[in-house]
C-alpha cells in the first residue's frame, strides 16, 4: 500500500495538518503536500479513469506532466474541472472529486469500453457508425460525447477575479531549478534586469531530491543560499508559483501566476497573467522522464521512477512497500536507493541494458538489491493496483521467466528536455543520438524583432542532464544573454560538484523488444487518451505516416498533458514502424500554453461592467433614471425609448413621436461626431471628402453632406457647418466619429500631407440636444439670450451665444421634419441645459425621445439612415441622392469607383417609398420577389425593404426600400413574402410620407 513514512518530506510541515476531502471522504494531509502526495499518503493510489476505455488510473508523475490524476475541484463559483492533483497544493477545506466515471470511481459502467478495447482501435470511429445516416447525430455521437470529456462543466458564474501585469526585463529566466538560478545569477551579476519564475512553490527543481553536494553543502542548502543571493539583488525579481506559459514573437512571454489557488480564503485576484517583454529569454525548464512501453504500464502503482522518489523525498510518502524498478539508464537507480533508504523493499531492479548500469548499479548491489541486466517487464498484473510483474528478457518476445510480487513499479525510459518554450516561437530541435532525445538546436533559435535569436536553453532543458555540466551550461546561457544585450558578462565562480560516472542509456521503445500484438495492445503510450503502441503502428500501416497524421488519427499527445509523457515514445514507435530514423519523423508542433492556463486569467479584468468600454453622455444618468431601454451604438448605449410604467416599448415610441410632432421633443444627440477641420486648405480638403461641394459654403451656414469610401460606397453622412472662413464643423454619425476622424487624418498624413489642414475630434467637448417640434422655438425663447426667430436664424443656419446662461452653439437643422434646433453646450453644462429645457418645456409637455422615435420620424420624412439604407454595398446614386453629388468637382473620394461598370449600371435597385395595401407593416429585411428562379434554384428577387415602421403620425405602416427601376414604377405593387408565411403586397410610392412640401420645418 502507499502510505506516509514516519520521517522525511522536506516540503511538508508535519506540525501543520490540513483536512481535505476526496469524493466526499474526509482525509488528512500536511501543509506543503500536493493533493497527489496527500492522497498517496492515505493509500488512495487510484485517482481517475482514462478517457476512452475508462481504465482505472493512478498517479504516474509528480509534476506538470501528470496525465491521470485530474480532479473536479471546489464548489459553485469556485468549481474547476481537470485540476492536476500533482500541482495542486492542499489546503484546509479543499474538496476534490475524481472524474470520468459513473456511478463512481471504484465501479464505473464506462469501463465496458475496456472489454471491447480490441474492437475500438485507433480511428475506429472513422470506419464505423456509417449507417444509418441519421444515427450518427442521434445515437452514436451522443454516446461518444457522453463517454468522452473529462471533468464536469462548471455551472456557476466565476466567483474569483483575475488581472494582468505588464513587465519588462532584460532577461527572463523560466524555471527556478539549479540551472535557472545559476543563469539568473550570472545575468544579474553582469547588470541585467532579471526576472526569474518557477511554476512550483519551491526553488531548486530536482536538485534538492537528486542533488549530491555542491561546494561541500547538500544541494538543497546550496539552493537556499543561491536564492538568498538573488533576493538581495536590486535588479532581480523572483516569482514562485509562476509558470512560463508561452513564448511569442518579439520577446513576448506569458507568465501565469497562481496567487490564490493554495489560499482561496485570502482577498485579491486568483490568477495574474504577466505579459512580459524580455530582450532575452532563458528556458531552464528542466526535463521530463519517459515511461517505458510494456504491457500493463498503466496499472495504478506503475509510476515514473523520478516521481516515486520525489514522493519519498519531498513528502515522506511511499508509493508501495515492494517497488520493482525497471529502467534503461542509471538515473532510476536513485529511486531504488531512496526506497531502500526509506526502509522499504526493492525486490529487483530490471535493467533493460544487456551491459547493465555503471557505478549506480554497483552501489545498488552493494546495498543488497538484486539487479537483473538485459531483463524487462513482460506484463504487469493487477487491476486497480499493481499485484506483480512478470519478468522476461528484453531481447525476446516476452516469454515469462519469473513473476515477482510487488505493489509498485518505478519505470524510467530516460529523460526528455522540456523544449516547449524554446519551440513555441519557432526554435528548432536536433535529435541527440547518444541520449536519445530531442534538444534545442542553438544554431536555429526563434528570431526576435531584430532578427536575432532571443531564446537560450539552459541545463536539462538544453539536454545537459548531469548537474555539474548543467551549471556550466546555465552560466553560459546567462553570459550569452547579457552579451546579446551588449553588456560584458562578469566571470562567476561555479560551485564544486562531484559527478558520478554514469553508464550510457540504451533507448528502449518497446518492452520487450519483440513484443507481439497482444502485448503491444496493452502497452500504453498516451495514458489519458488511451493510445497504445498498437494504435500508432496501425496508423503507420494505414498510411497516416506524417507525425501530424498519426497524432490526429490516434489522438496521441492531444490530451490535457499535450503529450509530455507520450510524444517521444510515440514518434519513436512510429519511426520504427516506418523503418526511418526518428529525426526524419520529426515532432508535432509545440503550441502554447506549456500547461493549461485559466481562461479567466486571459480575460483578466475585462468582464461584467468593464467587459468593454461603455461610453456615457453627460445625460446618461438621466436616461437610466427615466426608464430608458438602451441599445448599443458603437461603444455608446443610447436610449432606444423611455418606457413609462405599464408601457410597452412600441407604445413608448409612439408616444414620443406624437408628443414631438404635436409640441416638443428632446433628443440627446451628444453622441453625434463633431470634427473641427481648420486651415487654409480646409475647403479643398472637404471637397475631396464629401461628394458635395463644401468650399462654397458660407460662414454661418449648414449643409448636409455625404461621404463615400474610395471604393465608392456611402460610408457616412451629416451636417457640415462653416464656423468661420477657415473653420468647419463636420457632424458625423454616432458610430462614425472616430472612424471618420481616422479617415481624415489618414488622407492628410499619407496622401495630401502638403495641404494646410488640422483636424480635431471635438465630439465629447459638446453635449448636444435636439429641441424638436412646433414649440421648440418657444422653449428656446423662454430660456432667452439668443434670437432664434425665423429672421435671425433661418433654416440650415447657425449661431452662437449665451442661451439662458449656457455657452451655446445653435444649429437650425431638422432630421424629423419639424421646426427644430440642435443646441450644443460644453459637456460640463450638458446635464444642466437638459434639465433647464425640461423645466422651461414643462408647459409644452416636453418629452424625451429615443433613437427609435428618431428613426421613425426621419423615415416619415424619407431621410436615409446610414446602416439602414446603407450596408456597405450602397452608393449615393442608389438612394436618389445624386443631388448631393457635385457635378462640378473633378474628383472626390469614391468618384472614380462609381464610374465602374457595375456601379454605373442602370439596372441597380433604387430607393423608393413602400406602402402596404392593407396598411400593415412589412417585416424587417423582407425581399421583393420576382418571377422564376436563378440558375442555382434560388427565387429571383427585385428589391428589398431597408427601413420599415409603423407610423403613428399616419396611423399605418410605412417603409423605404430598394427596388429594381423603382422610381420609374410609382404606383406599381410588389410582393414581400415574410418568414411568417404571409405575403405583404406594397405599392411603390414617394419616400417622403410626411409634409412633402417641408412647410413644417421651415416656419
Amino acid at each position: 500500500m502507499s502510505t506516509r513514512l514516519t520521517h522525511g518530506g522536506r516540503r511538508i510541515d508535519r506540525s501543520k495538518p490540513v483536512t481535505f476531502s476526496f469524493n466526499g471522504k474526509s482525509l488528512k494531509g500536511f501543509q506543503g503536500d500536493t493533493l497527489a502526495s496527500a492522497l498517496l499518503a492515505n493509500d488512495q493510489m487510484m485517482m481517475g479513469r482514462s478517457f476512452k476505455y475508462h481504465r482505472p488510473r493512478g498517479v504516474v508523475a509528480s509534476g506538470a506532466e501528470e496525465p491521470n490524476a485530474l480532479m473536479n475541484m471546489g464548489e459553485g463559483g469556485k468549481f474547476e474541472p481537470n485540476q492536476r492533483a500533482t500541482t495542486t497544493e492542499v489546503f484546509d477545506g479543499l474538496a476534490a472529486k475524481s472524474q470520468n466515471h459513473w456511478p463512481n470511481l471504484e465501479f464505473d459502467i464506462g469501463v465496458i469500453n475496456n472489454s471491447f478495447a480490441r474492437f475500438l482501435p485507433a480511428g475506429f470511429y472513422y470506419k464505423t457508425f456509417l449507417f444509418p445516416r441519421f444515427a450518427w447525430k442521434h445515437i452514436y455521437e451522443p454516446f461518444i460525447r457522453q463517454s468522452a470529456g473529462l471533468g464536469q462543466a462548471p455551472k456557476a458564474r466565476d466567483a474569483d477575479t483575475y488581472e494582468h501585469f505588464y513587465f519588462f526585463a532584460d532577461v527572463a529566466v523560466i524555471g527556478g531549478g539549479l540551472a535557472g538560478l545559476q543563469a539568473a545569477k550570472t545575468a544579474a551579476l553582469s547588470g541585467a534586469k532579471v526576472l526569474l519564475m518557477e511554476q512550483d512553490p519551491f526553488w531548486g527543481g530536482r536538485a534538492a531530491v537528486d542533488g549530491g553536494e555542491l561546494d561541500g553543502a547538500p544541494a538543497a542548502e546550496y539552493v537556499s543560499r543561491l536564492v538568498a543571493e538573488l533576493e538581495a539583488m536590486e535588479n532581480v525579481t523572483l516569482r514562485t508559483r509562476m509558470m512560463g506559459a508561452g513564448v511569442y514573437d518579439h520577446g513576448y512571454l506569458l507568465g501565469y501566476e497562481r496567487l490564490r489557488d493554495h489560499a482561496p480564503e485570502l482577498a485579491g485576484p486568483r490568477h495574474r497573467l504577466w505579459k512580459i517583454r524580455a530582450s532575452q529569454i532563458i528556458t531552464a525548464s528542466g526535463a521530463i522522464e519517459r515511461p517505458l512501453s510494456f504491457a500493463g504500464n498503466d496499472i495504478p502503482g506503475v509510476m515514473l521512477a523520478g516521481a516515486l522518489r520525489d514522493y519519498i523525498a519531498d513528502y515522506g510518502v511511499s508509493a508501495g512497500d515492494r517497488v520493482v524498478v525497471v529502467t534503461n539508464n542509471d538515473d532510476a537507480y536513485k529511486t531504488a536507493m531512496a526506497v531502500k533508504a526509506a526502509g522499504l523493499d526493492v525486490p529487483v531492479i530490471l535493467d533493460a541494458r544487456a551491459g547493465g548500469g555503471g557505478a549506480a548499479a554497483d552501489a545498488a548491489r552493494a546495498a543488497g538489491i538484486r539487479v537483473e541486466n538485459g531483463k524487462a517487464i513482460a506484463k504487469v498484473t493487477g487491476g486497480k493496483r499493481v499485484k506483480s510483474v512478470k519478468i522476461c528478457a528484453q531481447a525476446g518476445e516476452g516469454g515469462v521467466l519469473e513473476e515477482i510480487a510487488c505493489d509498485a513499479v518505478a519505470m524510467s525510459g530516460g529523460w526528455s528536455p522540456v523544449v516547449h518554450l524554446w519551440s513555441h516561437c519557432g526554435g528548432k530541435l536536433v535529435w541527440d543520438e547518444e541520449h536519445a532525445m530531442f534538444r534545442p538546436d542553438e544554431t536555429r533559435p526563434p528570431l526576435g524583432a531584430t532578427g536575432e535569436g532571443f531564446v537560450i536553453p539552459a541545463g536539462a532543458a538544453n539536454g545537459v542532464m548531469d548537474m555539474g555540466v548543467g551549471l556550466a551550461d546555465a552560466d553560459h546561457a546567462g553570459r550569452k544573454a547579457v552579451e546579446a544585450l551588449g553588456l560584458t558578462a562578469k566571470a562567476v565562480k561555479l560551485p564544486e560538484f562531484e559527478q558520478a560516472a554514469e553508464a550510457p542509456l540504451e533507448p528502449v521503445w518497446m518492452m520487450p523488444q519483440g513484443a507481439g500484438p497482444k502485448l503491444r495492445m496493452k502497452a500504453w503510450l498516451d495514458y489519458q487518451n488511451d493510445v497504445k503502441v498498437s494504435d500508432v503502428q496501425l496508423a503507420a500501416q494505414e498510411g497516416y505516416e506524417s507525425v501530424e497524421h498519426t497524432k490526429r488519427y490516434t489522438t496521441l499527445g492531444m490530451a490535457t498533458d499535450q503529450g509530455k509523457l507520450s510524444n517521444i515514445n510515440g514518434l519513436a514507435v512510429l519511426s520504427e514502424t516506418l523503418g526511418q530514423a526518428i529525426p526524419e519523423t520529426g515532432t508535432t508542433t509545440f503550441r502554447p500554453p506549456y500547461t493549461p492556463i485559466s481562461i479567466g486569467s486571459i480575460a483578466g479584468e475585462a468582464r461584467g461592467a468593464v467587459f468593454q468600454p461603455l461610453r456615457r453622455t453627460p445625460m446618461h444618468d438621466w436616461h437610466e433614471a427615466n426608464g430608458a431601454y438602451f441599445e448599443p451604438v458603437g461603444q455608446w448605449r443610447r436610449a432606444y425609448t423611455y418606457q413609462r410604467a405599464g408601457e410597452s416599448v412600441h407604445e413608448a415610441v409612439n408616444r414620443e413621436i406624437l408628443a414631438t410632432r404635436e409640441s416638443l421633443g428632446l433628443l440627446d444627440a451628444s453622441t453625434l461626431g463633431k470634427l473641427i477641420v481648420k486651415g487654409p486648405d480646409a475647403g479643398k480638403f472637404l471637397d475631396m471628402l464629401y461628394t458635395n461641394m463644401m468650399s462654397t459654403l458660407k460662414p454661418g451656414k449648414c449643409r448636409y453632406g455625404l461621404m463615400c469610401s474610395e471604393n465608392g460606397f456611402l460610408s457616412d453622412d451629416g451636417v457640415v457647418v462653416r464656423l468661420d472662413e477657415e473653420t468647419f464643423l463636420c457632424h458625423t454619425t454616432t458610430g462614425g466619429a472616430e472612424r471618420i476622424h481616422g479617415h481624415m487624418e489618414e488622407w492628410l498624413q499619407t496622401e495630401w500631407w502638403d495641404w494646410q489642414v488640422y483636424v480635431t475630434n471635438a465630439t465629447e467637448q459638446w453635449a448636444q440636444i435636439g429641441v424638436v417640434g412646433p414649440n421648440s422655438r418657444k422653449v428656446l425663447e423662454k430660456l432667452g439670450g439668443v434670437d432664434v426667430s425665423k429672421e435671425a436664424l433661418g433654416f440650415m443656419e447657425y449661431t452662437a451665444g449665451k442661451l439662458g446662461g449656457f455657452d451655446a452653439r445653435i444649429f437650425r437643422i431638422s432630421f424629423a421634419g419639424e421646426l427644430s434646433y440642435e443646441i450644443a453646450v460644453p459637456a460640463s453644462q450638458g446635464r444642466a441645459l437638459w434639465d433647464a429645457l425640461f423645466e422651461a418645456g414643462a408647459e409644452f409637455n416636453a418629452t424625451a425621445y429615443g433613437t427609435e422615435a428618431m428613426h421613425v420620424m426621419r423615415a416619415e420624412k424619407g431621410f436615409i439612415m446610414i446602416g439602414d439604407e446603407t450596408d456597405g454595398t450602397i452608393i449615393p446614386q442608389d438612394l436618389g441622392l445624386s443631388w448631393a453629388i457635385s457635378k462640378k468637382k473633378e474628383d472626390f473620394l469614391g468618384k472614380r469607383a462609381q464610374e465602374r461598370a457595375f456601379m454605373a449600371d442602370p439596372e441597380r435597385w433604387q430607393l423608393v417609398g413602400l406602402e402596404t395595401v392593407d396598411g400593415s407593416v412589412i417585416p424587417d429585411g423582407a425581399y421583393a420577389v420576382a418571377e422564376g428562379k436563378n440558375a442555382n434554384g434560388q427565387r429571383n428577387v427585385q428589391g428589398r425593404v431597408t427601413s420599415t415602421y409603423f407610423s403613428p403620425t399616419l396611423g399605418k405602416g410605412i417603409a423605404m426600400g430598394l427596388i429594381h427601376k423603382g422610381p420609374e414604377r410609382m404606383g406599381e405593387t410588389v410582393d414581400f413574402p415574410g418568414t411568417d408565411g404571409k405575403t405583404y403586397t406594397a405599392k411603390i410610392v414617394s419616400a417622403v410620407f410626411y409634409d412633402p412640401e417641408g412647410e413644417k420645418q421651415n416656419v
Binding site: Y248, G251, Y252, A449, G451, N711, K895, R896, R900
Partner: protein, 109 residues
C-alpha cells in the same frame, strides 16, 4: 505580438498601441484612370513571403501614420519611417540590402 517604434514620438510600443494599415506607398488613381489601374490601386496587393512595406498608425499614442519595413516570414522589423514619402529612405533600403540581399518589393530594390 509585435513591437514597433513610432518614428514620430519615439515610443517603442507593443502592437496593441498601433493599427495596421496595409500596403505602403499606394499610388492613388482617380477619375480618368483606367479600370486596371484603379483595380490595382484598390485591390491588387503585394503579399510577399519576406520583405514587406506597410503602413501603421500609432492609434493609441500620438495618432501619426508611419511606414514599417517588416519580414512576413520571421516578423523581423527592419525599421520604421515617415509616412510622408513616396518610397523607403536610403537608410531603410540599406538595412534591407544588408539583411535580405537581393530583396525587392514592387519596383523598389
Amino acid at each position: 505580438m509585435l513591437i514597433l517604434e513610432c518614428p514620430y514620438c519615439g515610443v517603442k510600443g507593443e502592437e496593441t498601441e498601433f493599427h495596421a494599415g496595409g500596403e505602403a506607398h499606394l499610388k492613388r488613381f482617380g477619375p480618368g484612370s483606367s479600370d486596371e489601374d484603379f483595380e490595382t490601386y484598390l485591390f491588387m496587393r503585394e503579399n510577399p513571403k519576406g520583405v514587406h512595406l506597410e503602413r501603421w498608425r500609432h492609434a493609441n499614442g500620438c495618432g501619426k501614420w508611419f511606414h514599417a519595413a517588416r519580414c512576413t516570414m520571421t516578423l523581423e522589423v527592419f525599421g520604421t519611417y515617415s509616412a510622408q514619402t513616396l518610397e523607403p529612405p536610403k537608410e531603410i533600403k540599406d538595412i534591407l540590402t544588408a539583411k535580405r540581399p537581393g530583396w525587392s518589393w514592387r519596383n523598389f530594390k
